[in-house]
């Protein structure tokens, strides 16, 4: 396959993925989180319990959204390439070996904002259009 073809292919994939992609997701954090330029991988690692602290040394407190919410599915499929079933399988491997429990989850964007704003080290995600109140936006995942 030559470069021209590759370019065409990637353009094609881009078009397809952008037309399929739904809403964007905003990752928000408590104001005491000073890290900037975090990658989506690091954020995913925090939510998957793979890392406990952010690069700055702040102990991260992930605030998840309840199972079944659209923004949750969106966040995990984009940040960790896992759908809700794969996520469940992932957590069952940790839960039933005593190696971890999923993060605390709340009902909706508003609750996430409230929890993140009031909890030091908290990191959450909300849908792109949500107002973030006293929390700060770490990144936007398109």
């Amino acid at each position: 396959m030559n470069t021209q073809n590759l370019k065409l292919l990637s353009a094609f994939i881009l078009i397809i993925s952008s037309s399929v992609a739904a809403a964007e997701v905003k990752v928000i954090a408590n104001s005491n989180v000073t890290d900037s330029g975090l990658s989506a991988d690091v954020i995913a690692d925090v939510f998957l319990g793979k890392v406990g602290s952010l690069p700055s040394g702040v102990k991260a407190v992930p605030i998840d959204q309840d199972e079944g919410s659209a923004v949750r599915d969106e966040f995990y499929s984009k940040a960790s390439k896992k759908d809700s079933a794969q996520l469940k399988a992932y957590w069952s491997r940790l839960i039933f070996t005593g190696k971890g429990q999923p993060p605390k989850s709340v009902a909706d964007d508003g609750d996430v904002v409230a929890q993140v704003s009031s909890t030091p080290g908290a990191i959450g995600y909300v849908s792109g259009g949500a107002s973030v109140g006293g929390a700060k936006v770490l990144m936007t995942i398109p």
């Binding site: 406990g52 390439k81 809700s84 079933a85 469940k88 491997r93 039933f96 005593g98 605390k104």
Partner: protein, 489 residues
């Protein structure tokens, strides 16, 4: 809304009054109208009630600060309780069937049976304080039949029961009853939902010993962007695990287990290596009518008797030869039960007891690639025994690959296992009657379908072939069909 309610009423009426089926459309219509009127009246009543002062006082002012505070307090308390106390569970309901009654750990029969692959676990985890937690996982497995207990196939055991202590953010120590982490999915062997197959490849995941009493240390660290976990484990297993059937019972207890595994994950890749050493104390009890020759068989060679000696039940004196002769064969039999009926040793009804110990070195290496859609996982393990008294030296491997398309995951597996000891060596040294020089290969095709995000159903066709010792009944080709339903909650 009203329409929905009408449907609901219709459904309820249909359910409650079968004669309704005999009604005409017009009559049904009239009834529905009646019901709709009733609902309207109820709604009006409710609206009136809301306006009443009592409602205002009790419910209407729920936004009042005092009540709101109380509700918040209760909510916080419930949150805390939830944080300190977790209950999780998993279950697999499995039906399996093969060309022949092959039994084994999974009690596979030649007709569809529920049991061998079925299991259910319940885990309770309590946080004692910021650093300490206690976890108990009870597991009921439907494989008693395969263990020679057909009257009650359900065997309940505590696979996990430990006290955990978080020493630092990265180091955790656990003491109590733990799963032996020999392989990649050893610790979740019974959580069907957590792995792609109906059951982990039997060539590698033999399940005679799954738990031990002792401690492990988990240490999480990062090397660049590689997330690594080291697990150091040591202990013993006092409880005996029976294998085989009612005629041949072998129990093995495990001592001086020391092991270390390292799991490194980067991006889509996970690599795992394990090394361990342990000693095994084996106890075997073999029903003597299964080892005594059949009536009419020439036993001259077996018991060093004059040529032409034929075994008859009357020749009780040969029972004495039996023990001596078997011992001469290099097998170290300790005792022989007195048969209650014949009064002879080691005749029908008696068990021949023997014991042996051995020392193992055990190694495994695994790798997994998973990009969200495509996954490949493979493991290879080597068991090196010092004397081959209970198990044989074995090499086992498998490779599985699958591809997720929405909620469907088709997968294929190839597995291979072989002994590295000769038949003569095993016959002379191994006291486990079920251990014969063995090798087999298997190929499987399966399909997993997600049902929501906590349940799945899997079907698998497993074909085992290339047996070193072909079976008298199914020869060199055995098909096993399995369907399982997995759930986690």
């Amino acid at each position: 809304m009203e329409k929905k309610l009408s449907y609901l009423t219709l459904a309820a009426t249909l359910f409650l009054s079968p004669p309704l089926l005999a009604l005409t459309d017009a009559e049904i219509e009239a009834r529905l109208d009646q019901d709709a009127a009733k609902i309207k009246a109820l709604e009006a009543e409710l609206a009136n009630a809301k306006k009443s002062p009592v409602y205002e006082q009790d419910v209407g002012k729920s936004s009042d600060s005092k009540l709101a505070k109380q509700i918040q307090q209760i909510k916080d308390k419930m949150d805390n309780e939830e944080k300190n106390f977790k209950i999780n569970g998993f279950l697999t309901a499995g039906v399996n069937m093969a060309d022949d009654n092959v039994g084994g750990d999974f009690a596979i029969d030649n007709k569809p049976t529920i049991g061998g692959d079925s299991k259910m676990g319940l885990q309770v985890s309590a946080k004692i304080n910021d650093k300490a937690d206690a976890t108990v996982q009870l597991l009921a497995r439907g494989r008693g039949k395969g263990l020679g207990n057909s009257s009650d196939p359900w065997q309940v055991s505590a696979e996990w029961a430990y006290l955990g202590y978080q020493v630092t953010d990265d180091v955790k120590v656990r003491m109590g009853r733990l799963r032996i982490p020999f392989y990649m999915t050893s610790e979740t062997l019974d959580v069907g939902y957590s792995y792609p197959w109906v059951r982990p490849p039997m060539e590698m995941y033999t399940t005679a010993l799954t738990s031990y009493n002792g401690l492990d240390v988990l240490y999480k660290f990062s090397v660049g962007s590689v997330n690594t976990t080291a697990q150091l484990f040591t202990g013993s297993s006092a409880n005996m695990n029976n294998m085989g059937d009612a005629d041949q019972e072998l129990s093995t207890s495990l001592e001086d287990l020391y092991g270390l595994n390292l799991t490194a994950a980067i991006g889509n890749w996970t690599v795992r290596a394990m090394a361990s050493t342990l000693s095994i104390d084996g106890e075997s009890a073999v029903r003597t009518d299964t080892i005594l020759p059949d009536v009419g068989v020439d036993i001259s060679a077996l018991y060093s008797l004059p040529p032409g000696s034929i075994y008859t039940p009357a020749l009780d004196q040969y029972a004495a030869y039996n023990l001596a002769a078997l011992s001469q064969n290099g097998l170290n039999f300790d005792s022989c039960d007195l048969d209650q009926i014949t009064g002879a040793y080691c005749l029908g009804g008696g068990y021949l007891h023997s014991s042996a110990d051995d020392r193992f070195d055990y190694y495994s290496l695994g790798a997994q690639y998973d990009n969200g859609s495509l996954f490949v996982m493979s493991e290879v393990a080597k068991l090196k025994t010092k004397r081959a008294r209970i198990f044989s030296d074995t090499v086992a491997m498998y490779v599985t690959t699958g591809y997720r398309i929405d909620s469907w995951t088709p997968y294929i597996t190839y597995a291979h296992t072989y002994d590295t000891e000769s038949a003569a060596y095993l016959a002379a040294n191994n006291l486990n009657p079920s251990i014969k020089p063995d090798a087999s290969k298997s190929r499987s095709i399966g399909l997993r379908k997600e049902l929501g995000s906590s349940m799945d159903v899997k079907v698998e066709w497993n074909n085992r072939y290339d047996f070193e010792v072909p079976s008298a009944t199914y020869g060199d080709d055995l098909n096993i069909y399995t369907i399982t339903l997995d759930a986690v909650f």
